[in-house]
Symmetry: D2
Subunit: 407 residues, 4 copies
């Protein structure tokens, strides 16, 4: 057994298949993939990695299994899946996932290929586990898949607390000890036991507060958009395939961006934190529904038009349309008076948080600071936005001051 | 200047009028009044006192004043009020406040009498402060009164964090550093600056989660009801007036209860944690509106009837009807696009939390464990409750297990 | 199983005999005995009790037993002893222990009488445990007694961390997780496993720093001496026996002191923190060896002489001669290259800490603030102290300022 | 003013020259230099960077200046120096500093060149500060240089607490709030005020415990030695100068090692944590004094001989001879009875810690795991070591288990 000291869970004991997996390069690679990507440009202490997070998820899974009374091969399989659940992440975690998905068809939890082959596959088989079933758990399949990837999975229990510890933003400080203790299986469904409506709500609320403050902070979004655009240019260069890009770690991506001529400017901007600013920051009600239907190429075409119109280079304009908000935790289940209920049917907070998320949603258009006024006008026009609310330049001075607080 | 080490804010520097007030017996008495009263019977570590809380409120007030640029006599007055804001608390803080209020007409923030007389009045006047104006601030009067007692006061910023630290329940861990920094006065109103809708929501949510988990935990409510009933009996005894009771500290109340014949049983039960149990636990929708109109004496009459009916002593039955839920923070103000907005007009969460609070509200009837079934039936009948939902005894076994988790 | 939320160890699971013991009045009484007695007058947040500490010790014992592979009745006995180890404490914990010991012959860990009789005895026997063997463990007897009371016991692991959490002084923050994990039995001796010389040193150092900063802070010592003196007067009063005093809790002692005529002044001073000050504060080298030989009565005689000489009341002068410093942890054992070694034979720090403790040791004479100069001179003379170093009044002004920092 | 959220100090307010310096690429580069280099291979959460540490040092300097009453240009200069004190660090902080020093003659605090030129120089001059004087402060020159680099500097106050927070090892948790408050200048010397001998000792003890547990953990030392050796090979390659190497960040160094043929093996080993193991681990008493006199080239010659002797490649053998231990904090000064005293003259702990450090010192020889026995014998012979104590292979099995705990 190996004991590892963790800043969040103190001592983590790693044994069995997990101990053997620890030494594989697929798992060790996660030491070089930051958990929160460009969020580090907003919260300087947020340098924690997918490696320590994966250990934390393994640890909570192990404790949940103990409370649930799951043992033997079934438990080993879940522990393996918990430790491996993030090996499919590309560099900068979610930041360039949409890009690699467009090219490879794979999201980070599509790990079948990674788990069946090579070292990891060997270790799993040596411990009597079928790699495909482990990959299934990572994808959330089956009864125990809910523990690894579901509305009440230990993944989010770890990352909320860990992100709070490393950013210094306290909102993610959930009571993971209680959550893990109160999980039960009822008719094959993973639910929180009686008396835990508030426990379930607390998980939802923690995410709802961390989201705008940390995960969707506008500076994190801008730098993520710049990183994604630069990575797209990297794929235009002759030498790098999307599959290669996906297997890089943070170091390799950053250095590749710095060394490639067409991405050097973005790399410099990211390195020196000379980031683009918002030209447009539009609420959902000011965005025509057609915009949500636009394909990647259509958005690129809008950017090109705006740039051409103003005599700018195409990479001077980035249109960032996030998907409409969703809320996984809303369908988490909790026992109420002996029945399984979906949290959204039980808690008035779910609907309100959904509305709050809608309110917080923003379409962004980013460009070099000196061009925000011009780009704002033209881009708002090109996207058919309601101009008054959308343009950052029309917002009063005091707003600017606050919005740029961490900028 | 005196520097005091605090478990929450680390070093607190106390100077000026506050340093002089520190040594008065009115302030030192707060060392002997627990912040959370009977919550200690649920969360054993929750033994912190009004004294350290008052220091914390002074500290946050001082920092807020610094950020707001308030100086001189005005600032000293606020600092004095912050340190003194709780000197009006009786033993066990809020636990017996309704009782002493019925007899003395005074709530804990009615401190005019305490501040104008004796030591405290002398110290205030020696420092050029008018005790009545300080008392006014404690009561929330005037522009600066909002800092001491209002929707965005530093009182709740301290207690949420402190109660979280000492109970171990993380939900109260708000970002008080940010809250204090973002306060501004606009047209004489204390508001949170632009970009802080979430900051305001986080305060609201912290209270919404701490409320059922800590402050209104059913075991805390039961023991509080028992303490209140015992204190009422104490006042029936010849020797103690309500005004005397109000100036006791926790030790004196506990010992008085133990030594007085008519309250000895309650005192024993509290000492050994042999608490009453719930006979009725009714949701708001199951409670007829007349019940909310009942006076103290009418409720006592119901208790007497139930007890008589079952051949029990009157103190074997306690009916606990909390006021309908309110939510002070909902009217906190925040700047949005250059305008002052009330949080409830801006945030969909406010309405949802109000609904959640309604859902969590419970009327309780408590009695010795062996009588819950009989008392439940008769009391539900006497109060005209919808029987099915209200009786704890009809709730399935698994619910009992969870409800009694900390019992 | 009962799960209890603790501010230090988060969730503590209590089962078996411990769960049954939890409800006994002997254990519940510990809720009303502060862990650190008068230290609360220096560190206002230090209001934690022997109850939560006992739960913490139980928790760490349980985890240590798990790592050591001890199970069954043996383990239950240790868990019972861990939970019960402090039931022998009188009010204000160690503060008046020397007094009650003089009258009853019993220290707090002499719990045979308490464990064999009444509720506790019944519970233990009901669970198949012999109360005398449990009492033996509390007294540190036998192989497993070392876990409960010894150089490496879980008692100190809990209190160091807990006292740090509640005072805000970080020095006690040891790595209890590691300590508990590294315990092993070798030839029946409880030792730390190979590679843990530093782990053992860290325990020693934590105590060495907490000692002067918290446990022996001069204000804590003064108020403890005042409390002890007042309690002595209480025993002079007709109604209270030493055995009764020993079974009081903090509330009862405080109220008894307030209500008894001869102790009312001390009670007032403690309540309003109008404490005595140091008239003498002498280093060990300035104290003649005869002073260490003086009996309690001889010291009282010196106090009487000093008081008479100056026309003061006898209770205006308190001579406080602590025992010469000892250092339990110095004989803790640790494996080095396959051999059991005593820490003092292995670590150069032990000797240095012993010297440091000698250096920190102080004889104190306390009296009302206005009398320090006069009392200092006469008392130093009466005790035969080297005058120059001993008198606080000769210390330069800047020293006063710092010494009184928390005063 | 910019407010930055920090995981250790919560909100850090950056204003004046520091705010302007924040945006320079010299400071932003520190985001990409890990604070603890290869320690991350032992403590997975230790991914914090020199950037956040520099902000922390700036913050503590600013607070110390406030307490010391230093204002105006003098204070701005110190704040600039605090923020800039680490810009001279190469990739992986101290890990390859000896290497770059051999080639460039510069240590990380020799920042004259970096501060006078380019952006940083411009910003300093724009704010009326002479870059050479700022560089002087970084090197510890002058009265205020002691605050930035000296026995009581704020640098170590930040890193001890920060390293504790991010590794999870609590030993570094000093009371930095008290340290910063108790600093005073006496006759131009920075000292701790009266009553702070323990405060000074606590700083010393924190470092003494963090040293073996974190900074000198054998796995961190092995990986650091491997990184240094690999970097040396990189300089043998035609394209990279030592000055270039010194200005790289962690990403660039890692990628360069991976891409260069002669360093690819080391890079792979570091990436997959397939580290060398100890063949020799010798105490200071077993090492002949000549070994301490050996030059870099002479040690390389020994490695070559050992490798040749066994038919290994030269990079299969690494001899790691750390300098004899020193203890900067031992000469920190503290006021005692109105006099400035050096801590080592006042505290018996200093000498003991010096002895403890001697005891902990180890010469290491590292090689691939399968060669430890053979390399151990030959290297011990070549270095003239006392064989019995030095060879890891002679240590009993239980030691191995513990030594490799985090391996």
């Amino acid at each position: 057994m190996t004991t590892i000291k963790d800043s969040v869970h103190d001592h983590i004991e790693v044994a069995g298949v997990a101990e053997a997996l620890l030494d594989t390069s697929a798992v060790q690679r996660l030491r070089h993939v930051k958990q929160l990507g460009t969020v580090q440009l907003v919260y300087p202490s947020a340098n924690h990695t997918r490696f320590e997070h994966s250990l934390g998820v393994y640890h909570l899974a192990d404790r949940a299994l103990g409370h649930l009374g799951v043992e033997g091969t079934e438990a080993e399989r879940v522990r393996a899946a918990a430790l491996l659940h993030d090996v499919g992440h590309g560099p900068y975690s979610h930041n360039i996932e949409s890009l690699t998905h467009r090219h490879t068809g794979k999201y980070h939890d599509d790990v079948g290929g990674l788990l069946t082959q090579g070292e990891v596959g060997d270790v799993l088989r040596d411990h009597g586990l079928d790699p495909r079933r482990v990959a299934g758990l990572v994808a959330g399949e089956g009864q125990y898949g809910q523990l690894v990837s579901g509305e009440l999975d230990v993944d989010r229990m770890d990352y909320l607390v860990r992100d709070a510890h490393h950013t210094g933003v306290p909102y993610g400080t959930i009571d993971h000890g209680r959550l893990v203790r109160e999980l039960v299986f009822v008719d094959g469904e993973l639910v929180l036991d009686e008396g835990n409506v508030q426990t379930a709500e607390s998980l939802l609320l923690a995410r709802a507060l961390m989201n705008p403050t940390v995960y969707q902070h506008h500076v994190a979004r801008i730098s993520k958009a710049m990183l994604r655009r630069a990575s797209e240019r990297l794929l235009d260069a002759p030498d790098i395939s999307a599959e290669q890009l996906r297997r890089m770690d943070d170091h390799e991506l950053l250095v590749a961006l710095r060394r490639t001529e067409t991405t050097g400017d973005f790399a410099d901007r990211l390195r020196t934190r000379s980031l683009y600013k918002r030209a447009v920051w539009a609420e959902i009600r000011d965005v025509p529904s057609e915009v949500f239907e636009m394909s990647h190429d259509e958005i690129r075409a809008v950017e090109q038009d705006v740039a051409d119109d103003l005599g700018l280079a195409v990479d001077d304009v980035i249109v960032d349309v996030p998907p409409k908000p969703s809320m996984t935790e809303s369908s988490s289940r909790v026992m109420v008076n002996g029945e399984i209920r979906r949290l959204e049917d039980q808690s008035p907070l779910v609907g309100a948080l959904r509305t709050a998320q809608q309110n917080q949603w923003r379409l962004g258009v980013y460009c070099p600071p000196e061009e925000t006024d011009r780009v704002g006008d033209v881009a708002a026009d090109a996207l058919g936005l309601d101009v008054d609310g959308a343009l950052v330049s029309t917002v009063s001075h005091s707003v600017h001051a606050t919005l740029d607080e961490f900028n």
